[in-house]
Symmetry: C2
Subunit: 301 residues, 2 copies
């Protein structure tokens, strides 16, 4: 077998996932399986999809050991909320897996839960279960979150619906998230639901690994290329275009809107969300055009 | 704060979970939150509950590093299936979080997925998403599984419905699971659904931490005591009563059946499942009676 000696580090995350999921069986009630921000299930309240998302943060990978634990808890849940938002869904129920070394204090564990609870309360999420466990000797802390959501079937936004000519927008500012934004960002639940109702994005996702990684994913899922104006990127104050492209952890929305809806979108957005920028950064194109060619961003392996 | 210097190791798992979940907000659609085998949500197809479960296995804790990876994958999903079965539910959709050191081979990751896929196919489960990530330096492999299920509202079995006088049964044999059973057990989905329809257990759970830990949990949730005949425990061949009580990882069902249903249950069970023993081991009692007093079994901290 050719895989026998190949290491995960040599293959890369996207290629690994592709290999792992290619032979999986599906069910007739699955609308979207692996590959989008959430799984989408045709089940649940009539006229609604059930959304399912799992996401984990690892100490020493996604946050430093000296990060305040309530910030870590907030981040762990808010990341998953951001993925539910990316499909224009409302988050509902969370399960929390908390892996902590046995020598940690009880107050550390409780502070993580305070952060989780803060994110949950803001979005009317019930934490309905989970588990606690101890890592193997020497292992680090880890928080894994599963979150369910609900979205009406005619508002659900996938990554795959974009078409050449659709205009690309991002919310908020990009870059430099690790200076603090990654512990206190506001998942764009309200904005995404408003966008789905008002400007009918054909494709949407949240920016977690950096625009340079995430835009090519959206374009590929939509069988499109892209052309962006990097000068138009909304860089966070004091940060460069390179940082806006590659830092990651922005947790903003990237969306592709039919050109005919753009004028009304810009006008209405500024009335509805005056404090949050919505920046036009480029457009989807025919496949094969990728200007500038983006690569990089966060890779797990 | 009194927790400031208290270590998780000093508190124990059940007490920690109690502290962590006590201030959580709930939602009106949550029927059962943390504390039972699964969370139970009043949502989904009319007349059905949505069941949610998350569970993880950690290398060096739940399995040895030299365990065949397809067995590890099978076990990781089958454990969650066993929890859905414990509520008499049918498993449906799974999310998989696979944490593997970057120096592992691609074939190792694929073998884990073969095991997951084998468990999924047997029970008509679709693996609909998840993620892969790398642990912090020196960290071990970990697989976290989230599984949804569905159960008709009138067949859902909780831990908390038992009453004094209900007769306690266990399926299968107990003890010595780590010699191999823990990598190839059959979650009792069919049996649990049959039991719910035919003998109306008032309380049910799956045995994962050992009868000595799990029976007191069921009794406490039902506000009962218990009286069991340890000589009646169905010990796996070559294993002692102590092992049947404490080894854990049996993944059998423990159930409390109204006394009036016992004669019919025993008769019909043997016709329907002739190859699988169903053993009467005792009864639930008024609270305060715990004979013999059981303690121990697996504790994570």
């Amino acid at each position: 077998m050719a895989d026998r000696n190949q290491k995960l580090a040599d293959l890369g995350e996207d290629a690994l996932v592709k290999k792992l999921v290619k032979d999986l069986k599906t069910r007739s009630d699955v609308a979207v399986a692996a590959g989008d921000d959430c799984a989408v299930i045709r089940r649940g309240k009539r006229g609604h999809y059930l959304l399912l998302k799992t996401d984990c943060v690892i100490e020493g990978v996604h946050y430093a050991a000296d990060t305040p634990p309530s910030g870590v808890g907030y981040k762990a849940l808010a990341r998953a909320i951001s993925d539910i938002a990316a499909m224009a869904g409302q988050p509902q129920h969370a399960l929390i897996t908390l892996i902590l070394p046995a020598e940690r204090s009880v107050s550390y564990a409780r502070a993580i839960y305070r952060g989780l609870s803060r994110a949950a309360k803001k979005h009317d999420i019930a934490i309905v279960g989970g588990e606690t466990a101890c890592p193997a000797k020497g292992g680090n802390a880890l928080i894994s979150v599963t979150l369910t959501g609900s979205v009406t079937t005619n508002h659900c936004c996938l990554r795959s619906g974009g078409r050449p000519g659709d205009v690309l927008f991002v919310t908020g500012k990009l870059g430099g998230s690790l200076k603090g934004h990654h512990l206190r960002f506001e998942p764009r639940v309200t904005q995404a639901a408003w966008l789905a109702r008002n400007s009918k994005p054909r494709a949407m996702m949240d920016l977690s690994d950096g625009l340079a990684s995430d835009l090519p994913r959206l374009a590929l899922a939509s069988d499109c290329g892209y052309r962006i104006d990097v000068q138009a990127l909304p860089c966070r104050r004091g940060h460069s275009i390179t940082q806006a492209l590659h830092d990651g952890e922005d947790y903003e929305l990237l969306l592709a809107v039919p050109a005919r809806n753009v004028a009304a979108l810009t006008r209405n957005w500024n009335k509805r969300f005056p404090a949050l920028p919505l920046s036009k950064i480029g457009e989807l194109t025919k496949p094969g055009i990728n200007e500038p060619l983006l690569a990089g961003g966060w890779q797990h392996f």
